[in-house]
């Protein structure tokens, strides 16, 4: 039983590590934290494997764990991660003639951990509001509000 569980997680580490790392990178913004979060995702998956019913794709399940893990990480490290936000709105002049400034990942720092998690989950990782609400332990409505707030804030810093 224990060996079988470990083998499943091993195969997932081989197949999905890069995808989970990509989600973690988008959410944490740096490789070191993303690596730590990715490790935590697979350990959580090993711990919760019994609750994975197998009716969805393993990656869909891992995505939710990844969003939840990174969201918790961002909350725990709020001060360290989000303290240099003020400079962003004046950091770069818009390119003449362009509709938006060139995107800088640092712009994501204007978002709260919840807004960032919902935006990344929606726009890049193709998760529904329902799945995001479950992953982030919030309501579907709150996830929708956070998504619209995130888009509004990004528009503001990018135009």
């Amino acid at each position: 039983m224990a060996r079988q569980k470990r083998k499943i997680i091993d195969s997932w580490i081989i197949q999905y590590y890069d995808k989970v790392l990509a989600i973690s990178l988008r959410l944490t913004g740096n490789r070191e934290d993303a690596g730590d979060c990715t490790q935590e995702v697979f350990i959580k998956a090993w711990e919760k494997l019994g609750s994975f019913r197998g009716d969805s794709h393993p990656m869909a399940w891992l995505k939710r764990i990844a969003i939840n893990t990174c969201y918790n990480f961002l909350n725990r490290n709020k001060v360290k991660q989000w303290d240099a936000v003020e400079d962003i709105s004046t950091s770069e002049e818009p390119v003449p003639g362009a509709q938006f400034r060139t995107f800088d990942p640092a712009y994501l720092r204007v978002l709260s951990p919840l807004e960032r998690s919902v935006l990344v989950g929606r726009v890049y990782d193709e998760l529904s509001f329902k799945a995001l609400a479950a992953a982030l332990d919030t309501s579907e409505n709150s996830a929708k509000v956070s998504y619209h707030n995130a888009i509004g804030k990004l528009r503001k810093v990018m135009t």
Partner: protein
């Protein structure tokens, strides 16, 4: 559908064009929704390129590290059960047999006693101890009542 509802669906519309005809038709005629779609499309493209995937040389050692962690956790968790199972086996089988060995009375050793003592008589003491179990022989030498030895004309 309101503009806000349609704008919330844009990631799905971009992922599966043609699957949301009502919303797509609205976007064609609504400037605000068109702008939103263009903005989200550019966000998708730009952020995808903003964090390039680390090379394999970096991710393979990290994968191995995670696998090792999982093995360690498995050992940590199931090792406790294995230790508990081993303790149950020891308590159930080994300890009673140890105690019973200690608590055996000389009468329980009749077979060994005879064998040992006969061997002792036939050969010498050291030979007798090799034939029988050493511990039993020692027990007999130390604890056998004198009458047993006398009965055997030792």
């Amino acid at each position: 559908m309101t503009c806000k509802e349609i704008q919330a669906m844009i990631p799905e519309i971009l992922r599966e064009p043609g699957k949301h005809p009502e919303a797509e038709k609205h976007i064609e005629t609504c400037e605000a929704c068109r702008n939103e779609l263009a903005f989200i499309r550019s966000l998708q493209q730009e952020l995808r390129g903003a964090f390039p995937q680390p090379p394999l040389t970096e991710t393979i050692p990290r994968r191995i590290k995670v696998m090792r962690k999982v093995r360690y956790r498995t050992l940590q968790r199931y090792g406790i059960y294995a230790a508990a199972a081993a303790a149950v086996i020891v308590l159930t089988f080994l300890l009673p047999s140890l105690f019973s060995t200690q608590d055996r009375t000389p009468e329980m050793y009749t077979y060994y006693e005879t064998e040992t003592l006969e061997a002792m008589m036939a050969a010498d003491l050291s030979e007798g101890m090799r034939i029988s179990d050493e511990a039993i022989a020692l027990y007999l030498i130390e604890n056998a009542p004198m009458n047993t030895l006398e009965d055997l004309s030792f």
